[in-house]
């Protein structure tokens, strides 16, 4: 399986990428105006107290030295201590990563489950009423901002119908899933329209393609032509679009987690930014960046699996 050999050597290329990411996040975080020590101690703190705190967290050292400590800690599996939560950033992230992961996973699954059939219906009725309706609805789906959509869903399902929880995150799996329905739906409504548009275009093209004509000329009914030839060929370009969107989605969970009060990474990031909690901002940004790299790697593997022509 030489086509999959890149799975072994590609991670080597991640090392310089991750190094670059660490430098950039490190610098960007320090460009945020404001002094974390002052935020921590409040406006009436004495200069001595501030100096002490700054020395305690290494904030008085030169930037290069701070970066060096950061790298050394990283090698030990630590990302420094959170100023606000007083625990190691990596441990803090570990407690917050699950809701975000679950949200992204549910959203992606739900989006694909919506997008594929919707695109198929639109493509197979190309130019007819069903296609027009789907196009109008999906344009609206892209147009609505997620925070507004989330609020509307809360009002409808949680307040009026009272069948789903308003906000927060549960303890058991079923509780957690119930809490994730509305946030994932909010994300999926916009994500699935993006995917459906791309899929529909690829499918319309596929239905007109020579491959489809040849299959019809062999006497294949439309259902087989679509399922066996058009669909597999149209998935290839959509996988990369999905990967790009998941990368964007990980950053985008900030809004949805805030609206639904999900205790995830997005929420953590917002609080960390407001309190100038350098270490946390830096850690969350690193995790987000790594996730994006990883997702693109997974997308490459899926592309290779779907398209035998691709060599990486």
């Amino acid at each position: 399986m030489h086509r999959y050999r890149f799975v072994l050597y590609r991670p080597l290329q991640f090392l310089p990428v991750l190094f670059g990411i660490s430098v950039i996040t490190f610098i960007l975080v320090r460009l945020i105006p404001g002094d974390p020590a002052r935020v921590l101690l409040g406006t009436r703190a004495t200069p001595e107290a501030i100096t002490r705190i700054r020395a305690q967290y290494g904030l008085d050292e030169p930037l290069l030295a701070q970066y060096f400590y950061f790298l050394r800690n990283l090698a030990d599996g630590e990302m420094g201590r959170s100023i606000l939560y007083k625990i190691d950033v990596l441990k803090l992230i570990a407690t917050r990563i699950e809701p975000t992961l679950m949200l992204v996973l549910c959203s992606v699954v739900l989006s694909v489950l919506i997008a594929v059939p919707v695109a198929a219906i639109a493509a197979r009725n190309h130019g007819r009423l069903a296609d027009q309706v789907i196009r109008i609805v999906s344009t609206m789906g892209i147009g609505f901002p997620p925070f507004w959509l989330g609020l509307m869903l809360i009002i409808l399902f949680s307040v009026e119908l009272a069948i789903l929880p308003v906000s927060g995150y549960g303890n058991t799996l079923s509780e957690k899933l119930a809490h994730l329905v509305l946030p994932s739906l909010t994300v999926s409504l916009s994500l699935s329209t993006v995917l459906a548009r791309s899929l529909r275009a690829a499918m319309v093209e596929g239905l007109r393609s020579d491959v489809a004509t040849a299959a019809r000329a062999r006497g294949m009914p439309e259902s087989i032509v679509f399922r066996r030839h058009v669909l597999p060929n149209s998935l290839v370009p959509t996988v990369n679009l999905l990967a790009v969107n998941i990368g964007w989605l990980i950053g985008g969970t900030v809004v949805v987690e805030t609206v639904f009060a999900l205790p995830g990474m997005g929420q953590l990031l917002v609080r960390a930014i407001f309190s100038r909690d350098y270490m946390v901002v830096q850690g969350v940004a690193m995790v987000f960046a790594c996730a994006t790299v990883l997702i693109n790697f997974l997308a490459d593997i899926v592309t290779v699996a779907l398209d035998p022509r691709v060599k990486l």
Partner: protein
């Protein structure tokens, strides 16, 4: 007369457009006997392909519809048959293969599975039996290792092998009729000969009736029993091939036969180009040229020698034909001459100066050479009118005064035989031949010493091809032009060029005066190339021995 297997009577197909109905097939009547090979010839747009699609009711657009006439298959009416019945007819009774196997085979499905698909659907075999049947078919169409190639994907094969796979898929459900729509147009001559041979073998074994659509009368003369000539949606003439080729009744058939570039033994037209004075400086002087392309990625390096050890001199005023199969390095050589491809070793001198010696030489080279491309549509900017396109070249070249540009544009169009009305036309409103003339006018606008024409007639219909070749002949005569004419069509090169250079796998295997090379080829490869050209005379048979065994040589990649 045996009862017809397929009987087409007054078949009419119309296009329902915004401006009303347009008739695309006009009352076509045609019979096909069992075991017969019918050649359907005509130019692009004559309705050949549409007729074939209509037979299985797979019209290329929903705006097209069969408005009249009937198609009967063994007495069964097809124009009104329910769709479910047509599914059984398609593939099961009438199989179809197409011009471009690369686009008609599913790139993400294994070759074998594309054959099995039909077998399972039509014959209701289980997976195991279907696989066995498909492996058997792959062997029949000449796959050297069918059990292994079953699991290969289309991109792993050469064009010829892909066409074999498509034939296999079309035959999978044992149809009685095979419609072959330009099945060899995209292939090299030697591969074309193999595919035609394969089709004839299969036809003999299975008693298949074949409708062979082609624009090449040579193919028809070689493999068909009867010929039907189409033009503008009408059937102009149909008859037994010898009779029709010897005494065509219709003027259009006569012009088709006249423009077929066969390889005549005598009365060759006077060769264009001037005789050389001894001691003249060659315009292009290529010495020991190597062009090597790196392949593979960071971890697996490799290299392909696209051009190997090529030494070639082209004298001013000469017309040199560069022939060879696809992948033989013709285009790479041409690109290297124009300084468009980095050279690995060797030298190219243009008018005495080494083109690698500096930007000044390269700039001079590009002011004195021009290229004409294969695809006339894609080589022209769709947003520019012909006039603007020519004016742009003239302005950039700066060889004439700005005030004289409009007049010069008109002259250029006169030169290539396009009226001045074309100054305001855009490419999409023009035919392929007109676009190619505009492309040649653009090349002439440079006022070049050298024109390199890369397969510039390959995409054109035969009668248009003949016109463009004639145009080149005139231009070379009238202006002091040197022409390097790249083509895979030997007959055209023989008609046009003084000297011919045969390339094979990146190297020149033979060169010499056209008459000599074509009448007494020294190299076996040249001889094979010449033998593979289908002759319009049915009594000059193509490839007597079966070439099934050469399927391996045809190139199974990986």
């Amino acid at each position: 007369m045996i009862a017809a297997l397929l009987k087409i009577t007054d078949l009419t197909v119309v296009h329902d457009g915004d401006g009303g109905e347009r008739t695309l097939l006009d009352a076509v009547s045609l019979d096909l006997a069992p075991g017969e090979v019918l050649g359907l010839v005509g130019e692009s747009g004559s309705g050949k392909s549409l007729l074939c699609r209509s037979l299985v009711r797979l019209l290329p657009s929903s705006r097209l519809r069969i408005s009249g006439g009937s198609i009967t298959l063994s007495g069964r009416e097809l124009t009104t048959a329910p769709e479910a019945e047509m599914l059984a007819v398609r593939g099961g009774e009438i199989g179809m293969i197409f011009q471009n196997p690369s686009s008609h085979l599913d790139p993400v499905m294994r070759i074998g599975d594309q054959i099995t698909e039909g077998i399972r659907f039509h014959q209701r075999l289980d997976a195991r039996a279907a696989r066995a049947a498909a492996v058997d078919i792959l062997a029949q169409v000449g796959f050297p290792n069918p059990a292994r190639h079953y699991d290969s994907y289309p991109h792993e094969f050469s064009g010829g092998m892909r066409q074999r796979a498509m034939i296999g898929a079309a035959l999978s459900s044992n149809p009685r009729i095979l419609i072959a729509d330009e099945p060899t147009t995209a292939l090299d001559v030697t591969i074309q000969a193999q595919i035609l041979r394969l089709l004839m073998d299969i036809r003999a074994k299975r008693g298949l009736s074949v409708i062979l659509v082609t624009h090449d009368l040579g193919i028809v003369a070689q493999v068909c029993d009867r010929i039907a000539v189409m033009r503008q949606g009408r059937l102009v003439e149909v008859g037994e091939k010898r009779g029709l080729l010897a005494a065509p009744a219709h003027a259009y058939t006569r012009s088709l036969i006249a423009s077929h570039p066969s390889l005549p033994e005598e009365d060759m037209p006077e060769k264009t180009g001037k005789r050389q004075a001894p001691g003249a400086v060659p315009l292009v002087d290529i010495e020991k040229l190597h062009v090597r392309f790196a392949t593979g990625g960071l971890f697996r390096r490799g290299a392909v020698d696209a051009v190997k050890e090529v030494t070639l001199r082209v004298m001013p005023g000469e017309t040199v034909g560069l022939v060879g199969e696809s992948g033989s390095g013709k285009s790479t050589l041409a690109r290297a001459v124009l300084g468009l491809t980095p050279v690995s070793s060797g030298t190219i001198r243009f008018d005495g100066a080494d083109i690698a010696s500096g930007r000044a030489v390269l700039a001079r080279l590009r002011r004195q050479t021009a290229m004409v491309f294969q695809d006339p549509y894609n080589a022209l900017n769709p947003h520019l009118t012909v006039g603007k396109m020519l004016a742009e070249v003239l302005r950039v070249q700066g060889k004439i005064e700005t005030a004289q540009i409009p007049a010069r544009c008109g002259e250029l169009l006169d030169l290539v035989g396009l009226g001045r009305a074309f100054l305001d036309r855009k490419p999409r409103t023009m035919s392929g031949g007109q676009c190619q003339r505009a492309g040649i006018a653009r090349a002439l606008a440079v006022d070049p010493k050298l024109i390199i024409a890369d397969e510039c007639v390959a995409a054109l219909d035969v009668t248009i091809q003949a016109q463009i070749v004639e145009l080149f002949r005139e231009l070379v005569e009238r202006m002091s032009l040197t022409l390097i004419f790249i083509a895979h069509d030997l007959a055209i090169v023989r008609n046009l060029c003084q000297r011919v250079v045969v390339m094979h796998r990146g190297a020149i295997v033979e060169e010499g005066r056209s008459e000599e090379v074509f009448s007494r080829p020294k190299h076996a490869y040249t001889a094979a190339l010449i033998a593979a050209v289908p002759h319009i005379d049915p009594d000059k048979p193509l490839l007597a021995p079966s070439k099934m065994a050469t399927a391996q040589a045809d190139g199974v990649a990986n």
